[in-house]
Assembly symmetry: D3
Homo-oligomer: 230 residues x 6
């Protein structure tokens, strides 16, 4: 069985969708089929809770309409927008790139740092990490935007270096799906594992699909509640 | 100054809206003006994350359209649906009845229990309590539906009694806005404080409005991000 | 019903009592009656555990003698001295300004900082915050005394600025009842909510009084234990 | 050096003082000198926060007056009343029997249970355990009073048995100084370590005295604050 | 690239090694090459810390000697014996089945229970879960041995049923590598995801190998420390 | 009864063994008999998990062979290597110097810092502190190696000063058995309690031996499991 996986990019950016897809395909090889789609009606970049809410109807539609065509779903925004909703409405595995990358990070070293795009969302990411119960394993959330550097990757490396040296991070997690493809460039310089969320989510999603395991429908994510009599 | 407060009932039930309003008005007296509205487009009862998402657009509209007419807002569903979104988009105080009632409960005794309508949402409520960081103060979440009794209040009292005696709760919190008006009936029998969420939220919301304090717009709930240049 | 509230200043300073009272009255307007008293036999400033113990007999007397004259009590020292004792001996709501202000702060932003008068009590405040189970929401405790500035408010603003910028606080809490009246001056400069403890406690205490809810007398704060037979 | 240790029984019961002293002397042998005193002005049994406050002046006096005569102090009530105060005012080691016994218990097995005298103080003990940050290691607090049995020791054994079998405790802690001398009787029946608080505190206090280490006077328990200029 | 994975069974049982291998091969298909070996010198069943220590030299040897022949390693005992050591000495990904299965479980529902073989190791498993920082997500550890039933799978189902109904678990984790192959039988009856540790570890290990990511060698698991000069 | 205590130095260094012994004997006086031995087959310095594993067989042998000759055992490496194993295999009290010193530190001030020899093991120490559940009480782990200074004690004092001033530690713990004898030198300069692990462990071990209390053999450290039938 070769799992078919739909990667839902919760924003509407064609460019970011393509970058995510290229990176995903390169990893997938012939072990899984991967399709990546942007979310209709979503904003071009997801940062605020308003962006999350705006993306929800499109994400629901994508998940629902593709229910039978795919074996698993990946939500490709590091803020894991609408994940409780996604877990609830589906009967197939659905994996957020934030959750997958940060939980895998906890298996690879003493503590991890997330490299965020901007300072504005640092507390939002901390709230997400707290939601997943892994704050103990967090060294820091470091925004790349405040670092000096002529290019994105230079600023990411500067933030990563600070995380490793000052915050004692042993693993780094890319805090935005748009950073796809920069992981290995950072690893070469920083000499610690650098995790791309989409690839981590593909590992988990394809594995669960092959294993035949999905989100528990007992209580919290039960989607038959109040509908059984209808 | 007499604060004007809009109570947004995130579901579309006219009956529950009326019950909430009656209870709110009785508490408000002449210390605040209270208006209660159901949410257009929402489901008649909020239990699932899908219900939360379905309510979001209507809630946003209500909050936005009434921005200038009210001094504070109360979100009247104990699951605090879309609260991060509500806190982000407004410049006025907005208070969820779950957060207000459970945080006030921690000031009144060693530990509190939430009396939930049904077992299905017990883990959802636990996740919410964990989000607020007050799990330490939680004695239990007890669903009323599994208790014996001919009426709602009998089942609530039975669940409350179990919480107080078996789980050692010292304070009870009504886990649904629809339980409005049953608090004092339970107190008479159970001899511990029983908190109605709407009244607790009115206490906090009217107080913040009179104090002139609102949700911080620094970082996590900043709603100008990405819009300043527009 | 207009709640009558007694504000007990646990120290014996007439000057601080007056400052607290002025600020309280300005907030109260005609929504509550407020009386503020210093504590006989207490030291003029509360910092140490010895100061707490010294204040206890006077605080007990004030609470007991005024039992029938007031609907609720506020303990107006940010260290919340003898609060467990206060909660136990009364049958009316009693609210500490530390607990009220810091728990309200958690509803208004991602994390809060307390601006303390001096470095000596920073760990004492941290221990108190830990007692309330809200350390997760704490950005920092910042002592104003170590900051440069010609006046109290300048040092408070400097400490607050550091908390917001360096510790990523989104809400500030005044860590001393003696800072009454400086909240709005700080807000103007710092653009985040700044909470005065006395006002926060008045919000909660008056609300509880109007709601008819008090400290649970079940177990932890039961004051009939060992006395029922007498 | 043979440490001289003053055991302060925070209540005024001569009988309990004698029981504590007998047990302490039996343990002390010739390795330390032990004197045990009741607290003048205290109630005969410590259960409530009011009892704590009532004991404070006498405890302060005992500690202060005997400052030079003893090398270390033990506070012999399992609720550790006024311990922050005791730690602050002294320059010699002072050890609470609750803290000593429960922290030693964490070194001897996976989790411990406290056998409390009565149900009323179960949450008070839980609050104390939380204050010490060792809730993770707690299996349960079990009140002996609710167990069947003709004698104290039978009820203690019944509560201990329940803790070991139902709550999976691996170590038991006697939750009252008045249980002195019952530890070994319980061990014989229950086959897990049973810790008497006074003996545990003597171990720690005599050790600290011989080591020449005391409570840190840096910040939290600094007793020179505000007095240096006097 | 087809990852070659060595599954190290930390005990010496040929029978259990075969059961693990059969289950692993069935999952692996042609997506990875799997070899399973018992540990020379280890005890036939791993339960105690002594068993862990006894297995260490053999496990080190297996990992070291096969360093170049495999792309990743799985340690196939649910107690994750000697995992810190394994993570330190290797430069390839090494995954414990306890860590992998329990961390994946947290992605699939509100809380999980571990079905342990015997009561003796329940606290040991709890200590492990605490080590991984996921105690918040734990519903319970339920020993199968205390359940009624004629066969292993019947007792596992009985324990699982109790976990789901009484402890509100939404996901189950098999607490022993020897339970290989029973996951799907349990799922059919219990209608919640049931995770086999070896398969979960293969998902993670093969994914990491394909991704080219391994244990961080920065600080905690640095194996060059003190050897660089040699 | 004069307790006979065997101090097991988990490394093989004769020099460090002698330093530990001298310091232990000076503290012991005539209150206990102390013998100190290095571990045959162990590495000369314990830093890595490999060092822990290498020391295990020798430590087991020392503990087993001396079972009847001693009343209690101290494991004299601050990383507490193989402590779960030690606690399991013995019927006598066994105390790790890391656990004893850090848990005693929590009784002496608001928070403690550990002065570590090198940066490499900082996360390892943090993981140990987390294992003991006392991370809340930790101010920092400060490596001495990164400080300037001509001698060990100068670097230790510099690191300690930083811990007290920058991290607000109120108590210091020496993070290596090899620092024996430097505690009082540091105290003189730093004016906070400085705890040597071996002495702290001797306090606890001798006390437990005299009290007749040992590691619980119920469940987690039961060493008869699987052997009763043999």
């Amino acid at each position: 069985m070769t799992p078919r996986i739909l990667i839902i990019n919760p924003n509407s950016s064609a460019e970011m969708t393509r970058a995510i897809h290229d990176s995903a395909v390169a990893f997938a090889g012939d072990t899984m089929e991967v399709v990546t789609v942007p979310t209709p009606g979503a904003s071009p970049f997801i940062a605020t809770y308003e962006d999350h809410a705006q993306a929800a109807p499109g994400m629901v539609r994508l998940l629902t309409e593709n229910r039978d065509r795919y074996d698993a779903f990946v939500i490709a925004c590091h803020g894991d927008p609408n994940m409780d909703l996604m877990k609830e409405i589906t009967d197939k595995p659905v994996v957020g790139i934030g959750e997958a990358s940060m939980k895998l990070a906890t298996m690879l070293g003493h503590s991890f740092s997330v490299i965020a795009p901007v300072e504005r969302t640092v507390p939002n990411k901390k709230a997400l990490i707290d939601k997943y119960g892994i704050t103990r394993d967090l060294a820091s959330v470091r925004p790349a935007s405040v670092e000096a550097g002529g290019s994105d990757v230079e600023r990411l490396i500067a933030a990563g270096k600070r995380a490793v040296e000052e915050d004692m991070a042993e693993v780094l997690v890319l805090g935005c799906a748009g950073f796809a493809g920069l992981d290995k460039k950072m690893e070469e310089v920083l000499h610690v594992p650098v995790l791309d969320g989409v690839i981590c989510a593909l590992i988990v999603a394809s594995g669960l699909a092959r294993y035949g395991v999905s989100i528990s429908k007992k209580r919290r994510y039960d989607n038959t509640f109040g509908k059984r009599g209808k």
